[in-house]
């Protein structure tokens, strides 16, 4: 029976879950016993029954305290994690597919949704085959080995904390799906489908799974540093953002970039997609508590506040600078806020979330407009500008706004300035591995099967040339 719990979860989720267990179960037990007692004492009178309930409550709590040592399956936690897993998948399918699909030109919209959908399928199989094992197999500083390859030993009865390991594995799988799918936006409109399939398969194995192990796996080196990443600021967002930037540079600009009209063909699709991402993010952040308790509750609240404040921050920044508040601006801001709060969602209070959202929204707006223009790379859908930069802002601000009473670690505002350095160290580790290995992978694909479609195919329509279909 596997009762291994990752230290990250242990540090964050366990104390909170422990509190929940004693309180909630105590009440449950007292209620049951209270009913039995009152039935037995029906003839004696209601007063005795009430005393009986009180005694039973006390007895229940005591029994619970004695039995609290070994984690047991909690159906409440499991129910929430089943739900969270489903809605994190919804972030990618259809959320991200629509968010990205609306932003490309009409001739390439099917190519975009195809790339996201295929990446979700590839992510599933690769995670099942080796990804889960590399990330969460055995303890170790750099990787978890292959002992759980093809989910060996992940049986029906195994527990991770208070939930089945199958649920934990699938929950993590949905993260391994959305992270590579996010990268797709950076090289939209120009990558060969075969190159994408090879890249995604290898990227999850070589980049995603190891970094997941470093941050969340047993004995991972970033975890040991004491870096805070509740739901994937480094693992998901900095990782995909940096990979996107490197990919945009290596694959090169779209034909006609900055000369031709590349405006989004349907921003309603993007708005629907962003809204699905927002809702799914509750599973992402509150689900990362791995329990249905106070930690998940606070994560949900701060997620909502940061998203809205970043959406407004981006909207007002754009309104001031360009004269009009745009739909693409407000939905991009919401996503930027969700990215920025991701690492912080188990560690900060609502006031911290407000500031993380405001700062994240403005900085991501600047990165996606001015910085991109200044440096000249063609990160088509701003994967770096929103996920890379937003992830870094969020990781640093987690070190600023962390509240000891919430996640057990104090941030700079509570006098622990060193936490910021720890956060920066974890950011750098992620940037280096993700950046270098993504470059190596892409260059290897470039010299073997090639990365890009021909200029003629690109000018025509990838939907027609690569997939033989058109949207209408």
């Amino acid at each position: 029976m596997n009762t291994h719990i990752t230290p990250r979860r242990a540090r964050v989720g366990r104390p909170l879950r422990g509190l929940n267990l004693s309180a909630e179960r105590g009440l449950k037990l007292s209620a049951e016993r209270g009913l039995n007692l009152s039935a037995a004492l029906r003839g004696v009178g209601v007063t005795f029954a009430i005393i009986g309930v009180a005694v039973a409550a006390w007895a229940g709590l005591t029994a619970e305290a004695l039995a609290a040592e070994k984690p047991k399956l909690d159906s409440g936690d499991t129910a929430w994690m089943l739900t969270a897993t489903a809605i994190v998948l919804m972030m990618t399918l259809p959320g991200l597919a629509l968010f990205y699909g609306g932003m490309v030109r009409k001739k390439n919209v099917l190519t975009m949704v195809m790339q996201v959908f295929a990446t979700a399928c590839i992510g599933t199989i690769v995670w099942f085959a080796v990804g889960y094992s590399i990330a969460f197999g055995a303890d170790g500083a750099y990787w978890g080995g292959l002992s759980k390859a093809f989910l060996a030993g992940v049986g029906k009865e195994n527990l991770t904390g208070t939930i089945p390991e199958t649920v934990f594995m699938t929950f993590q799988m949905t993260f391994a799906i959305i992270t590579p799918a996010l990268i797709v936006g950076a090289f939209a409109d120009r990558v060969k489908f075969s190159a994408l399939v090879v890249f995604m398969t290898l990227w999850i194995i070589i980049v995603y799974a190891p970094i997941t192990h470093w941050v969340w796996g047993g004995g991972g080196w970033i975890l040991k540093l004491g870096a805070l990443d509740f739901a994937g600021g480094t693992v998901v967002h900095i990782n995909s953002g940096v990979a996107g930037l490197v990919a945009a540079i290596i694959i090169g600009k779209r034909v006609g970039y900055r000369k031709e009209d590349m405006s989004p063909h349907n921003l309603v699709l993007s708005l629907v997609g962003a809204a699905l991402l927002w809702v799914g993010w509750f599973g992402f952040n509150a689900g990362s508590a791995l329990s249905a308790g106070t930690g998940a509750g606070m994560a949900m609240a701060v997620t909502q506040i940061a998203s809205a404040s970043a959406a407004l921050a981006w909207m007002f920044a754009e309104w001031l600078q360009r004269g009009k508040p745009t739909v693409l601006g407000i939905v991009s801001g919401a996503i930027a806020g969700l990215v920025a709060i991701t690492p912080a969602s188990g560690f900060v209070d609502p006031m911290g979330a407000l500031f993380i959202g405001l700062i994240g929204g403005v900085v991501c707006y600047w990165a996606s407009t001015s910085l991109k223009k200044m440096l000249g790379y063609d990160d088509a859908l701003d994967v770096f500008g929103i996920h890379g930069v937003g992830g870094m802002v969020g990781a640093i601000l987690t070190g600023v706004f962390a509240v000891k009473a919430i996640g057990g670690t104090a941030g700079a505002l509570e006098g622990n300035g060193g936490q910021i350095l720890t956060q920066i160290y974890s950011i750098l580790g992620t940037i280096v591995w993700s950046g270098v290995m993504t470059a190596v992978l892409l260059l290897a694909i470039k010299v073997t099967i090639g990365l890009r479609v021909s200029d003629e195919e690109e000018r025509d329509s990838l939907d027609l040339r690569l997939h033989g279909e058109s949207v209408h």
Partner: protein
Amino acid sequence: MKLVTAIVKPFKLDEVREALTSIGVEGLTVSEVKGFGRQKGHTEIYRGAEYEISFVPKVRIDVVVSDTLADQVVDAITKSARTGSIGDGKIFVSDVSKAVRIRTGDVDNDAL
């Protein structure tokens, strides 16, 4: 016979159609077109990327009428399509050498 081609603002289409049927025009063809004249396009901004949209959506009306009706048609379109602001469109009149109604084989004025 004359072909009257009018490029007008899309929201004016219904008024133009009513004006033309009231003077006895029994059919016309409409297409959605884009173009530019003195009315310039506009700028769209997506995450800081600015696009000059130089072509403005318009409606093109093609109507073929007998020579006697042509001036009335031009007059009716001019009145019904005018807003007074820039971008109201243009009207072109040209000669038509032959017309045939496919169902009956009627030609020229009988076919209109």
